[in-house]
């Protein structure tokens, strides 16, 4: 059950190139499934909530949630300056989580940058169901690489790629993904930048696989009332609609998202503007 609460911060600490924050969320943490996100109110000068995918839940303080923060804007910088004992207003868990296979099938999890965050708990839950798990961790360079050690702890094999070759394999996450897909028929899960999700979806499709992708769209509310976080998604009826990534996502089947048209309204979208003569 989604709830809004003033949550006490339990810890804020550097975690590689990012920050990890833990806050008490009794009654909320129990409902967490990998893929869920939290919307957090920041300082008074910034009225829009910030959305973070939930990294993990723990039993601390009667139930706590952990997130990874990249302090690149004023709201996120404010957030990492909070100290244990401070209160932050949170709404969680939000969104539709990753769907887990009912059979113990092999799974490959692909994370770009701090998009790896929700994949650790996903990996643990998959392995608990008997699924062999491989994780691909990618980033632009070694500085932005996140979670390799944690990935090793929760999976059967880890593959690391960087765009500039400064760590792991020189190349993209799709390079090891292609090799893994060629050797079997795993379920694919991905979280990271849109470009990466598009590439993962396309490579998965080449091998007849469908990736579950957690998208990161800019949101104002996180609860489905503002209509800012939309992207073109093909429905079960074959019709493309501008759908909210907060309520209908953030996890989408990769073959349903019109990745190359994200940021546009494709002409055949339900209710798209009529072509204009002028």
């Amino acid at each position: 059950m989604t709830a809004q609460a003033d949550a006490e911060i339990l810890s804020v600490r550097r975690d590689g190139p990012y920050w990890q924050m833990s806050f008490a969320a009794p009654g909320i943490a129990d409902g967490f499934r990998p893929g869920h996100f939290v919307a957090i109110a920041v300082d008074d000068a910034h009225i829009l909530r910030r959305a973070f995918s939930i990294r993990s839940a723990s039993t601390k303080a009667g139930g706590a949630l952990q997130i990874i923060v990249s302090p690149k804007g004023p709201g996120t910088k404010w957030l990492v300056e909070r100290r244990p004992g401070d209160l932050i207003n949170v709404i969680a868990p939000l969104g539709k989580p990753f769907r887990l296979p009912t059979e113990p099938v092999p799974c490959v999890l692909v994370g770009g940058g701090y998009g790896v965050a929700p994949l650790f708990e996903l990996a643990s839950q998959l392995r608990a169901r008997g699924c062999p798990v491989e994780i691909i961790v990618g980033a632009g360079d070694a500085q932005r690489l996140y979670g390799v050690v944690e990935a090793r702890r929760v999976s059967d094999a880890v593959h690391v790629t960087t765009d500039d070759g400064s760590a792991g394999e020189h190349g993209r996450v799709t390079d090891p993904l292609r090799r893994i897909l060629a050797g079997g028929h795993p379920a694919v899960y991905a979280c990271g930048p849109m470009g990466m999700l598009q590439a993962v979806s396309e490579v998965s499709a080449e091998f007849g696989a469908v990736a579950q992708c957690a998208v990161e769209e800019s949101m104002a509310c996180g609860i489905g009332v503002c209509m800012t976080c939309v992207l073109p998604v093909i429905g079960d009826d074959g019709v493309t609609r501008m759908v909210r990534s907060c309520t209908e996502g953030p996890v989408f089947f990769g073959d349903r998202v019109r990745w190359s048209e994200v940021g546009t309204v494709p002409a055949d979208t339900l209710g798209a503007p009529e072509p204009r003569d002028d």
């Binding site: 059950m1 989604t2 809004q4 109110a41 000068a45 910034h46 009225i47 829009l48 909530r49 207003n89 709404i91 769209e217 800019s218 104002a220 509310c221 609860i223 489905g224 009332v225 503002c226 209509m227 800012t228 976080c229 939309v230 992207l231 609609r241 501008m242 309520t247 994200v262 940021g263 546009t264 309204v265 979208t269 339900l270 209710g271 798209a272 503007p273 204009r276």
Partner: protein
Amino acid sequence: MTDPRVTLGGVDFAGPAFTASGCAAAGRELAGFFDLTEIGGVVTKSIMLRPRSGRPTPRMVETPSGMLNSIGLQGPGIESFLENDLAWLTDHGVTAVVSIAGETVDEFAQLARILRNEPAVKAIEVNISCPNVESRGQVFACEVMSASSVIHQVRRNISSDVPIFAKLTPDVTSIAEIALACHNAGADGLSVMNTTLGMAIDPDTLRPILGGVTGGLSGPAIRPMAVRCVWQIHQVLPDVPILGMGGIANGEDALQFIAAGASAVSVGTMTFHDPSAPVRVQRELLGLLDERGFTTVADAVGIAHRGGLT
């Protein structure tokens, strides 16, 4: 304790605070955060005749004490709205104020005819001021003649016991003049105000940030402007109910609108910050009215025009 009930255009509402159109979808998403029957009602996101995709992303930019949006009236169209959204509100006993938008005067008339047979519609807000349309010519509320024709057509196509509220834009020289025209054309009340047109440019790319290039500015940044608009309209139309809105974040903000001449308020952008903002604002407002000795909300309406508290 101040009586929370208010009467707008002959219809009674449970409280003086409403959601604001475009900031609450059709209410359902907020039901998990507060009891929607405690507030005056849900003003639904403007509905059009046909489904509408809205504009490309990015649709939102955060700005100092506010935000810009260029949603572009995304919605499922009136048929789906009646079947799913209005039905849900009815089933849950939530008071529905339905906001309608059209590209032409005739579309507004058609929407009014369709809604005429819906007993669940307690009032209609006529959105003649959405800034996120293809041409400024479609912002009917920018001009006396076009504003009047829309209101006239809606009024003659809807039952006389359903009050209609014209939603106005501040982006005009004299909002009082537009308000007078709308009232003369048959508007029972006025919703004041819609967003004001704004724009933001990305300092790195030097391109407009919004997919729609320009967008509507909302939030506390525009509150003083909205209070001024309510004040000016109440001056010329002291007996016409005004639904006041524009950056209301708490009870004190709402009280400013009431004192300036609003009979009730809508809470919009701050719902994104706090989903229970409408009910919180209402409780705070009633508390402040009570502290000041008002037994009804109506007693405080426009009091700033009468010398304030004596």
